[in-house]
Structures are given as structure tokens and as C-alpha cells.
């Protein structure tokens, strides 16, 4: 009986838990110059059905252009929003041109998605 439980535990440890943990979307700021900012997003397998990227802008900074085009802008919180639908595993980049140069430590961003395994809401800080 003990052996059976041990086997089950090993199965959980090596197969199920890593499979659930694998699904992820992470983002980081990569080299930008002056007013230009780039966020590199990496989508793990299995991908979520959709995810949201929130980019908070420092006071007095506007976004002049972005690729892909943002889904919307919330002036109250000065936040730009992107909604990515049916993403494929791999990398995707968001490039932004801001109204004035901003140092890396002034930028804060967030990724939100529902974990495809557990259905729980996950929030990741863009670093």
C-alpha cells in the first residue's frame, strides 16, 4: 500500500505539478532608446485563451504610438491596455513610443491571465 502511495506521489511530482506550473506568460522590458520602450512577452505552453497587458505611464507621459495597437486607455489610472486573444506559445513584442524619455525603473507593467489548468487569475509584473 505504501508503495502505491509513493508511486502516486512520484507521478504527481513529476507529471501533474510541472504540467500545471508550465502555463505562464511573462514579460520584461528590453533595450529601448530614448522615447522608445519595448516589452518582450513570452507565452509558455499551454497558452491561456487570452491575456491582458497593462502598462502604467508615469505622470505627465503620454503614449504617442504603439505596435500592436492598444485595445484601450484608461485616463483615470493612466494605463494602456492590450488584450491578446488566442496567443500561440512563443514570444511577442510590444513597442511603444512615449512623449518623453523614461528611465527603466520608472516603468511599471502587469500581465493578467487565467491559468489554463486551474482557471485561477494570475498576475505577473513586467520586469
Amino acid at each position: 500500500m505504501k508503495k502505491l502511495f509513493l508511486c502516486l506521489f512520484i507521478v504527481l511530482l513529476f507529471f501533474i505539478i510541472p504540467a500545471l506550473a508550465a502555463a505562464d506568460v511573462v514579460g520584461r522590458y528590453v533595450g529601448g532608446r530614448g522615447n522608445n520602450v519595448q516589452v518582450r512577452l513570452t507565452v509558455s505552453k499551454p497558452p491561456p485563451a487570452a491575456f491582458i497587458v497593462l502598462q502604467h505611464l508615469p505622470a505627465g507621459v503620454r503614449i504617442e504610438a504603439a505596435d500592436p495597437k492598444p485595445s484601450g486607455f484608461d485616463p483615470a489610472s493612466s494605463t494602456v491596455k492590450w488584450l491578446f486573444k488566442h496567443p500561440r506559445p512563443g514570444s511577442v513584442a510590444i513597442t511603444m513610443r512615449l512623449s518623453r524619455p523614461v528611465s527603466g525603473n520608472m516603468l511599471t507593467g502587469e500581465i493578467r491571465f487565467r491559468h489554463p489548468g486551474s482557471g485561477k487569475m494570475v498576475s505577473r509584473t513586467i520586469r
Binding site: A49, A50, F51, I52, S71, G72, A76, H86, R114
Partner: protein
């Protein structure tokens, strides 16, 4: 290869009695809908015996029941008499071949071969999966507002190698109208009887359609949904679609799960997760995205429409 003359009128009658489309038969027999139409419109068309068998299976009758009354024996026909989709064939079954003669002389051997063939057929049937291996689960929101469309998704799960065509038959009870993607890829009105014919890929398929509740429905009314999934194997009975079977009329957007007049990040992500498909064959989410970005919405009961608001103001 043999060919037989079938009774076109009987084919049409059997098909209509069972509320099957020509597309369904065409998918099962693996011919075009034009061919099915031609078979039905000719009095006694000649078709391949193999196709007659598939047709009989799809209509849940024996091949014999499909044949022309006067000709219940496989016919000997010239190529010109056979439908355009069938290859010209010449056949002769009048004289038993050497194999038949052998079995006639060795009846015990024939019985054993028959038993083995029957067993093989059973094993094949069990392996390929009858209706029992299929599960069709309906997913729909808890509430929807009058005149505002809401999505319904039927998720079909089965064995990965299940290659037979599937037919989904849904019925809506309550003043409403369903629309979805037709066989030609264009938007199609289903009325209160959404239908879908297709095959699973890797053991999975989704049939998504949209329902618009009538303006006359009042808060608290319900729309009831029922349906079944039909396969070649389980032609007669169908298998009930499981999952929620009713939706309540309420002045909230269907994606606003907690009814707070705000489409939150979690709610829009959940909507995509549950009802959208990469092929965008189901619901149009443009308006939902607008409500999410607006931050709030209200229900205008005079025009039966949701209006965007900066903050949630609720019911008018």
C-alpha cells in the same frame, strides 16, 4: 464491384422522416450533396453497392429496404446508367464463385469464419467507439438580457480516432432566435433549432452559436435548451447533451457574472476562455470589449440595449 438500383423516393422519405439533411447523408456516405440530391430525384438510380450500404447505415435500414421493389438483386448495369460520382462498374453475382462453393461444401468451416468475422466486427465497433464514448457538454451563461445576444458552446469529447460524422440537434424553448456559422462558413439563422454537422479533430470539436432572446421576455423568464448528439452508430436514439439547460432573463450582460454592471478583467478573460474559438466562428466579442474598456455599463430598458458608462451606474 457491384451496383444496385435504389428507390430515390424512399431515400428522400426516410431522410425527411428522420429530419436529416442531405449534407448529413453526403458526409456519411462520403459523396457530395449534389449526388444525394440526384439519387433522391431519380426514380431508380444505380449506385455502388458500397455506397448503398453506407446510405442504409445512415438511414438505419437494411440495404434491401432501399432497393427498387422489382429489383432486390444486385443489378448488372452499364457504366452509363450509373451516377456521375460512381465509377462505371460491371458486375455479375448470378453464379457462385469458387469461395462460395467451398463454404457450401464445408458448412462447419463457414460457421467458424462467420463467428470470427462477427467477433472482429464487435472488437472494431468497441474500438472505434459507439455513442457511449462520446460526451457533448453544453456551456452557457447564467443570465442574458432581452434583445442582447449570448453565446452557447457545445464541447464534444471522444476518442482521438473517432472519425465518423456527428450531428448536433439543439432546440430552444422560449421566445428566442439562434444564429451561427452555416456549412458554407456564412452566418446562418437557425430559428429555434440550431444544427451542426462535423467531425472531431484529435477527439475534440466545438459547436458555438448565438441566441438572441426576444424583447418581449421579462426579467425572471427562462429560455430552456435541450439537444442530442447523433452518430452513425447510435442513429436512432441520439445521446443527450449534458450541462446547463436554461438561462435566466436579467438586465445584465451575459459576461457580467456577478451582475455589478462592470466587465472585469477576470470576466472578459473567462468569456474568451469559455466561448471563443481561434477560428472566430462563434460570438462577436467586439461589443463586450467595448464594455470592458469603458469601465462600466447600464441597461437601457427603453431601447433594450447596454450603454457604456465610465463608472457602473446600474439599471436605469
Amino acid at each position: 464491384m457491384s451496383s444496385v438500383r435504389i428507390d430515390g423516393r424512399k431515400i428522400r422519405s426516410l431522410r425527411e422522416r428522420q429530419e436529416l439533411t442531405q449534407l448529413y447523408l453526403a458526409t456519411v456516405v462520403e459523396v457530395t450533396t449534389d449526388t444525394i440530391s440526384r439519387w433522391e430525384n431519380r426514380r431508380y438510380p444505380a449506385i455502388k453497392l458500397e455506397n448503398a450500404r453506407k446510405l442504409a447505415e445512415a438511414l438505419d435500414v437494411t440495404v434491401d429496404e432501399l432497393l427498387e421493389e422489382r429489383n432486390r438483386e444486385p443489378a448488372q448495369l452499364s457504366g452509363q446508367e450509373i451516377g456521375a460520382d460512381d465509377q462505371p462498374v460491371a458486375s455479375s453475382v448470378a453464379r457462385p464463385g469458387p469461395l462460395s462453393r467451398f463454404f457450401q461444401q464445408n458448412k462447419k468451416m463457414a460457421a467458424a469464419v462467420f463467428a470470427v468475422a462477427l467477433m472482429a466486427l464487435f472488437v472494431f465497433w468497441a474500438g472505434s467507439g459507439g455513442n457511449s464514448t462520446l460526451i457533448a457538454r453544453r456551456v452557457l451563461p447564467e443570465h442574458a438580457a432581452p434583445n442582447m445576444p449570448f453565446p452557447v458552446a457545445i464541447h464534444i469529447e471522444g476518442k482521438r480516432d473517432f472519425g465518423s460524422p456527428l450531428l448536433i440537434r439543439e432546440e430552444l424553448i422560449g421566445d428566442s432566435e439562434a444564429t451561427g456559422q452555416g456549412e458554407d462558413g456564412k452566418r446562418k439563422k437557425f430559428g429555434r433549432h440550431p444544427r451542426w454537422i462535423g467531425k472531431m479533430e484529435d477527439g475534440h470539436a466545438v459547436f458555438a452559436y448565438t441566441v438572441i432572446p426576444d424583447k418581449g421576455l421579462a426579467e425572471g423568464d427562462e429560455i430552456v435548451l435541450s439537444g442530442d448528439i447523433v452518430t452513425q452508430q447510435g442513429r436512432k436514439e441520439g445521446k443527450k447533451i449534458i450541462g446547463p439547460d436554461r438561462i435566466r432573463i436579467a438586465p445584465y450582460h451575459w459576461a457580467d457574472v456577478n451582475g455589478d454592471y462592470v466587465i472585469s478583467d477576470n470576466e472578459i478573460l473567462m468569456a474568451y476562455e469559455t466561448y471563443s474559438t481561434p477560428e472566430e466562428s462563434g460570438m462577436d466579442f467586439t461589443f463586450l470589449e467595448e464594455l470592458w474598456l469603458a469601465g462600466g455599463y447600464s441597461w437601457n430598458k427603453k431601447i433594450f440595449f447596454f450603454e457604456k458608462t465610465a463608472a457602473s451606474t446600474g439599471k436605469e
